[in-house]
Symmetry: C2
């Protein structure tokens, strides 16, 4: 069947986002998402476990990518710099996706269940990055703290980027946020 459904996954994601914005997340059914995408409910459930997961489709692949990038950072890099280097290319990844990312954040912000899912994905990312740091020989609690701090920096930068006018690059904002964290933790 798949040759009749080019990019079915992407179409479902886009249809879901549109409907969540138009009608609200809770009011939207899987049947409506599938219909908007021109696909069947069965196809939806081949791609996503439920209507919540359709907003988090890329999370696992993204996490794997970031962890492998962290493993590739120079051996001499300090833990927080290795985390920052791993997260940096996200700026380029999201560059053309600011509007869908902004819409997605607005849907998530309006629903506790979605906020919880977002938070557990971020916690999972931080844990995976901490594991990758331990694999580089970083001890605990330094590995967990560097990973948590790196993810917090990125989250704050992402919100700034989403809330701004789009003129500044996400990577640039993230680098500034890291500098700000350094200043904040230095107690200045």
């Amino acid at each position: 069947m798949s040759r009749w459904e080019p990019n079915g996954r992407g179409r479902l994601e886009q249809a879901a986002l549109e409907l969540y914005v138009e009608r609200g997340y809770e009011q939207t059914t899987v049947a409506e998402i599938a219909k908007r995408a021109g696909l069947t409910e069965r196809t939806f459930f081949r791609h996503f476990a439920d209507k919540r997961e359709v907003l988090f489709g890329g999370a696992e692949a993204l996490q794997e990518l970031l962890v492998s990038r962290l493993a590739e950072a120079p051996a001499s890099a300090a833990p927080i710099d290795a985390v920052a280097a791993a997260l940096d290319p996200l700026g380029a990844h999201f560059r053309a996706l600011r509007e869908p990312a902004r819409l997605r954040q607005s849907v998530i912000a309006a629903n506790t269940e979605l906020q919880e899912r977002e938070l557990i994905k971020l916690a999972s990312l931080a844990a995976a990055l901490a594991g990758a740091l331990r694999g580089r020989g970083v001890g605990e609690p330094a590995a967990s703290l560097a990973a948590e701090a790196g993810v917090a920096v990125f989250r704050v930068a992402f919100e700034t980027w989403i809330g701004g006018n789009g003129e500044r690059d996400l990577s640039e904002i993230a680098r500034e946020s890291l500098a700000e964290l350094r200043s904040v933790t230095a107690g200045t």
Copy 2:
């Protein structure tokens, strides 16, 4: 009725924790919790919205306490130090509660739904602390970063404390974790 139910809330919390450890969170019903506590289901629902909330009963009061402590920190304190000062008395608060805290963490760790609830409570705490920092004149993103970093430090310290042998004080571990974060973010 309340004079027949001394500390009903605490008895329900203890009964729930015991049952979640013995039988698992998902296998335990509100009826069983109420019975173990010697109370009725109706009393349970007067205190808690659902069997998930019974594990998070103190979160709001704790958050208010920490926010008011942050407001009381010396005006000269740097943001991260004000956050650390606000969180520091948690060590004394939890000192006699290490075993129930350890059991509670083991129940939460075994269930995604509970992990999500825990994460949103911590995110809410970080947001409240960031708001209190803004009230002290700290700008963004410094306020959010200091609050997120402070909560991350405390979380990591809490896990270390729970996982240890209980000889070291939580506050002491938290102070060490903050020193470790300073070192990690300094890139050393």
